[in-house]
Amino acid sequence: MGRRVGLEVSLACAEAVGLCNADVVAAYPITPQTHIVEHLSEMVADGRLDAEFVPVESEHSAMSCCVGSSAAGARTFTSTSSQGLALMHEILFIAASLRMPIVMATANRSLSGPISIWNDHSDIMAERDIGWIQTFAENGQEVVDLTMHAFKVAEDKRVCLPVAVNLDGFILTHVIEPIEMPDQEEVDAYLPPFEPSQSLDPAKPISMGIVGMPEIYTEAKKANMVALEESYEVIKEHWDGLAKQFGRTYKPIESYRTDDAEVLFVTMGSLGETVMTAVDQMRDDGIKVGQVRIRLWRPFPLDDFMEAIAGAKTLIVIDRALCPGIPAGPVATELRGMMYAKGAKQYVANFVCGLGGRDVTRSQFVEMVQEAQKAAANGEEMTCRMVGVKE
C-alpha cells in the first residue's frame, strides 16, 4: 500500500518520475518548474534513481535531447514552463511526428511580455497543435497519477506518442498537499519496463526524421492524426487500469453536480477546484449550476463533452489565455466551433480570467453565472469578457 504524505507537488511529480524508473531526464530549469528537475537531479546524484540527468543549455536542447534518447529506446522525461515551452516549440512537433513516447510535465505559466512568472495557460494554449496527448491536473494527487498514466499511454505500442501533463505553476507546483505516494511494487505492476516499438539499433538500422517530399508528407500527417485520435481508447483503458491498481478514477471529461444543471462551468486545471466550491455555494442557494472539467485536452473527447453538457442551457467556459484578434479565448473558440458542427444549441459565455497569476475568487464565479444567465435570457451575442480588468 502507498503512503499518504505531505509533499510539495513538484517533489511529488519528481518522485513519481522516479517510481516510473525514467532512464533519461533532460531539462533546463525555469520557474515554476524548477523544483521538479532540481529534485530529479538530486535523486540521480544520490543514486536513488538510476538515470542519466542531462543538464542541457536550453529547452530547445532539452527537447532535442529527449527525442534522441527516446529514439535510442530510453524512457525519457522532461519538464518545462512558459518561455521554455515556447523555446521547445519546433522540436515538440518533431517528437510527435517521430512518435517518441516522451513524457513532459508542463508547469503552466504565462508568456512574456510583460515578463511574468505566474500562472495561466498561455504557454500550453500556444502549443495546442503539436500533436501531443495533453492532460490537465487539478491537484497534487492527480499530478502523480497522471504522470504514471502518461508513461503507460505514451509507451503503449498502439500509441507511441508524447504526453504532456499540465499542472498549474505555483498554485500546484509550489504547494504542499497530502498525497498518496504509491509503492514501487504497485507502480511496477502498473507500468512494465519500456519496450520501444522502434529504436536506433545498429543491428537493425533505420532512419528517423527523413525528408517528407510532397508525395508523402500528407500521408505522414494523416498517420499522425489517426494515431492521436485512436489514442483516446488507450488513454481510457489505462485510466481504468489506474483505478484498479490505485483506486482513483479519471475520465476524459469529468462532471460535478451536472444532474439537472442549467448552467455549466467548463474548466481546466486547478481553478476547477475553486469553481467546485462556488458550485456548492450556489447549489446551497438553489441555483442549478454544475461543472464539467476537461481532463483530456488532446485528443479532445468531443463525444464525452457533448454528453456531459447535453442537459444544460448555458455554458460558462473559463479561459486562462487569450486569442488576440479573435473574440473568444482558445478553449471557447474551439468548443464553440466543435459544438456548432454538432448542432448544439447551448449559449456559450466565455470569461478570460486568472491571467498572469491574478487570483479568481469564488464570488467572481457567482457573478459570471448571473451575467451569463442574463445574457442568454436576453438572447445577446456570445462574446468574451476579461474578468477583473481595472478600468
Binding site: 517521430l98 522502434q198 527523413i210 517530399m213 508525395e215 508523402i216 500528407t218 500521408e219 505522414a220 498517420a223
Partner: protein, 109 residues
C-alpha cells in the same frame, strides 16, 4: 503529380521512419531537370574526377568500360550545372533536351 513515390498512409513505418537502407536511390532527382543536360567531351576531359566528386546528386560514376572517364545518369542529374562550372578543362557543356528524352542515356530507375 504522378503516383510515383507515393505510399498509402497505413503502409508508412512508425513515425515515417526509413526502414530500407539506401531508399534515396529510388528518388528521381532527374525529374527536376529542365530543358538541358550536361554532356562531357571526352577529347578534352583529363580524367580528374572532379565532376564525380562534386555532383550533389551523384549523377556521375566511373565508367566501367573506359577507365578514368565518368558516365552520367540522367535519373539523378537535376541540372544544377555545378559540374559545368567546376570542370577545370571546360569539358562539360549543356545540351538541349526535349521533355520526351528526359531521362537520358543511362537512366538508373
Amino acid at each position: 503529380m504522378a503516383d510515383e513515390g507515393m505510399t498509402p498512409w497505413k503502409d508508412l513505418a512508425l513515425g515515417c521512419a526509413g526502414t530500407e537502407p539506401g531508399s534515396s536511390r529510388r528518388f528521381n532527382t532527374g525529374d527536376w531537370r529542365s530543358r538541358r543536360y550536361p554532356v562531357t567531351d571526352r577529347e578534352t576531359c583529363i580524367k580528374c574526377g572532379l565532376c564525380w566528386i562534386i555532383c550533389p546528386d551523384m549523377a556521375y560514376s566511373p565508367d566501367p568500360k573506359d577507365e578514368g572517364y565518368y558516365t552520367w545518369d540522367g535519373y539523378y542529374c537535376k541540372g544544377c550545372g555545378i559540374c559545368i562550372e567546376e570542370c577545370p578543362k571546360d569539358a562539360i557543356s549543356w545540351k538541349e533536351e526535349k521533355e520526351e528524352d528526359k531521362y537520358g542515356p543511362a537512366c538508373g530507375a
